[in-house]
Amino acid sequence: MYVIIVLVLVLAFCRACIRADVPEEQKPILRYKIEDESTSYQTEKNVTINGVDYLESQLPNGKFGGTFVTSTIGEGPKTFNPFNAKDNISSAMSEIMYDGLVTTDPETGETIPKLAKSFTVNGCEYLINLRKGLKWSDGKPITADDVVFTWQNIIFDGYGNTSTRDSVVIEGKLPTVEKIDDYTVKFVTPKPFAPFLRMLSSPIAPKHIFQTAVNRGKEYFDGFLSTNTEPKEFVTSGAFRLKEYVPAQRVVFEKNPNYYVINKNGEKLPYLDKLVYLIVGDINNQVLKFEGGELDEISLQGSNVARFKEMEKHSDFRVYNIGPDTGTMYIAMNMNNRTDENGKFYVNPVKQRWFQDKNFRQAVDYALDRKNMVFNIANGLAEPLFTPETLNSIFLNKNLPAYGKDIKKSEELLKKSGFRRDKAGHLVDKYGNHVEFDLYTNAGNTEREAIGVMVKQDLEDLGMKVNFKPIEFNSLVNKLMATLDWDMVIMGFTGSPLEPNGGKNVWLSDGTLHIFNQRLEKDLSSKRYPFENRIDYLYNQGALATKFEDRKKFYDEYQEIVYDEKPLIYIYSPIRIVALRNKFKNIYPTSLGGVTHNLEEIYIEDK
């Protein structure tokens, strides 16, 4: 019996060993034709019918009805109150329900009117004309009172998440808001302040609902319109309103019957009856749900893209390449030169000399093999990145050339600063210290862990000794923000393609996310590096200038400084790929807005 089994195994092994070297025939590659929709997106236009100022869709008329199912990764919304939202998902959910005065043109990135019919900017004065005849979802009119209430009594008075308020404080002063008449509002900023216009996209709240909550104090407000609130109690201005929230499963929105966008037949949009966000835990599950037909839209990454591309030919969806995403991946070195309360340096003084040496940072940069990182880790679906502004940013400085791995250049730079190799090939600095440090990233993130492994190898080519240590995300943040005892880290941020001022927490030298030289409360007035001072200046000036061309000059220079000084060494920016079912029409993907920026105009074509 055993003899037979062993014999079979041996035979199987021999069979496996004998393999003929016959080149596979090249299969003819079937190229799938994509009909190119070259027509670009037409922004909605103002029209007035019977004294009501509607927005009219310029796209072909569609059919009413149907559901659009999309998803969000994570734990789902934490609140539905737009003023309490601190995380992206909660803000996204509330933005669906509450429109702001202005919005962003998905094609050009310009600020265009939304709830406002029009606006004029005159230095510090922002005059907003509201649409007449608009109604909240409960039928009450939307007027200047709501706008003034929202900005004065909620935002400026510091209710909920005060981030909006904090970012419009200009030299210690808040802007003012004033009702001119029922449909006109005037904002005045203490100084010209370019980012303010875009801040006006903050949601507007219905005064008759929020008033009581505001009267009951900030603590009450923090729990107001939480995820436990009955959906019926939401009064909204956006295209959809809440219908159902099932924790850890989904959020269901239904059409707002009073929405102010109409199609060319004068029928009120949105076309869709329902909008569903499934709450999924991770990318894997999201992909499975899309394939199982439970989702209509999905963002794809890495090797999934190739598979979806292949399936696209015989499936009911299309894969859209939207271009560079807003995500960035970077390496930072701890340039901190201060001591803690006990007089101990956060960073070992020996290592400080390396990390504060521009040549050293540049050498690290030139040693990185971005090309293979893009290839291996992002499956080719990313672009090498050299500046803090992402590749789709309207403020991107296009004059900064890209480069590849250049070990020779790295070694030259190191030599300039007195580094040399000892007999064993280890890099030593000019005082004879071995160059050895820790490289951190958050454990469990396959992408960053894989980058870490490659960075370690790249730097070891220079003779450095790198101890790569992925640690738990929360512990890592604690290190970066509080204990400051780290050497080098791989992290990522999500940037804003429209407003560099959104990155001020990172780039201002006293910012809360000034990661490469984090200043704790007690160190806020400590000495700055010259380049930090310059970036502070550029950032402040960039925000105060109002014309795009003037601002661009300031932001161009800040990018040049980062490109040269390398406080953060950017690695790559992924390309955004979205798959969407074919049954949805009126789809006009743009780099800034993605695929579903015009949700109210999207309709389902029956087969």
């Binding site: 995820t227 219908k243 499963q249 499975l288 923000m481």
Partner: protein, 324 residues
């Protein structure tokens, strides 16, 4: 009366236990370098003032012992506090408890009605090929990492399209009629139940087998056999009745496990249960939520043991005399 006194005594005994559990867990969690505000801190659009407010709200700026005192005080009052997102812990738990109960009750029910008979069959046919094969099969059930099994089943669901991909209800659940709702939930439950069933079945079958073997070895069974009773009669009349006691203890443990959830399985299937909630809370060091769920687990365990003991007293007069 005696029983009531016994119960009272047991309840009083649990108090120090609960204190120790809460102390251990609280200190381990708070001593960890994990920052509950990590996500907020890394969000470029969150301002310093907001962070400061959050720190104060969660009491992170106070010494641990003060934090513990604050927590314990409100816990005794029945206030479980708020999560690091500012939601009430009690509502958060309330959302998840029914889902987890549903899943575990179904799994326990199925594994008992399958596991107990299989255990009896294996014990009766001790050392026969049937017994061996069952042992190997249950070993296989125990050898697959549960999360891995779950992932494979999910892929199976996508490939065949026979089952929904995770979750508990479909997106149009609200509009369904009652039979449709019932079917929808059943449909979603099949895969996670399969995973958990496979795991618990193996354990239960082994337990029952061992119990019965133990009893079959007892003197009175030998005596009954010697009397010339048929084997079926011996097993069902004498052996099984005595094999019930350990099962009652086991039932107590199962009761305790009702609310602890199966974190990894729930995670892979995106099941909206307690296990996933606690897992995420632990990873984020969301202290109030973790503490509440740990205390709940401890109380359930104690209650389970207590119920088992009381049942034992009722079913078995011998123990009553000895213990109470």
């Amino acid at each position: 009366m005696q029983i009531l006194l016994y119960i009272l005594k047991r309840i009083i005994q649990t108090i120090p236990l609960l204190i120790i559990v809460s102390l251990i867990s609280f200190f381990i969690i708070r001593l960890s370098p994990v920052d509950p505000l990590a996500e907020l801190r890394l969000n470029p659009s969150v301002s310093k003032e907001t962070l400061q407010k959050e720190t104060e709200r969660l009491g992170l700026d106070k010494p641990i012992i003060v934090q513990y005192g604050k927590w314990a005080k409100s816990f005794i009052k029945g206030d479980l506090g708020v999560t690091s997102n500012g939601e009430r812990v009690s509502t958060k738990l309330k959302e998840r408890i029914p889902n987890t109960l549903l899943l575990t009750v179904v799994v326990i029910f199925l594994s008992w009605i399958v596991g107990i008979p299989l255990g009896i069959l294996a014990a009766v046919n001790w050392k026969t090929p049937f017994d061996r094969i069952l042992t190997v099969l249950t070993s296989i059930g125990m050898a697959i990492p549960s999360f891995f099994f779950a992932v494979l089943l999910l892929i199976f669901a996508v490939k065949t399209g026979w089952f929904p991909v995770g979750g508990l209800t479909s997106s149009n659940f609200l509009e369904m009629s009652f039979p449709q709702k019932f079917w929808d939930i059943t449909h979603h439950l099949i895969l996670p139940v399969t995973v958990l069933f496979t795991i618990s079945l193996a354990g239960l079958q082994r337990q029952m087998r061992a119990n019965l073997l133990d009893v079959l070895d007892g003197d009175y069974v030998k005596f009954a056999r010697a009397k010339g009773l048929s084997e079926t009669k011996v097993i069902f009349k004498h052996a099984l009745r005595n094999a019930v006691n350990p099962l009652i203890t086991l039932l107590g443990f199962e009761f305790a496990g009702l609310l602890s959830g199966a974190a990894l399985t729930e995670y892979v299937f995106q099941y909206p249960g307690l296990g996933r909630l606690i897992l995420e809370a632990v990873l984020k060091s969301d202290i109030n939520l973790v503490m509440a769920s740990l205390m709940m687990g401890a109380i359930m365990l104690i209650a389970g043991n207590l119920i088992a003991d009381i049942l034992l007293i009722i079913t078995d007069p011998r123990i009553r005399g000895g213990q109470a």
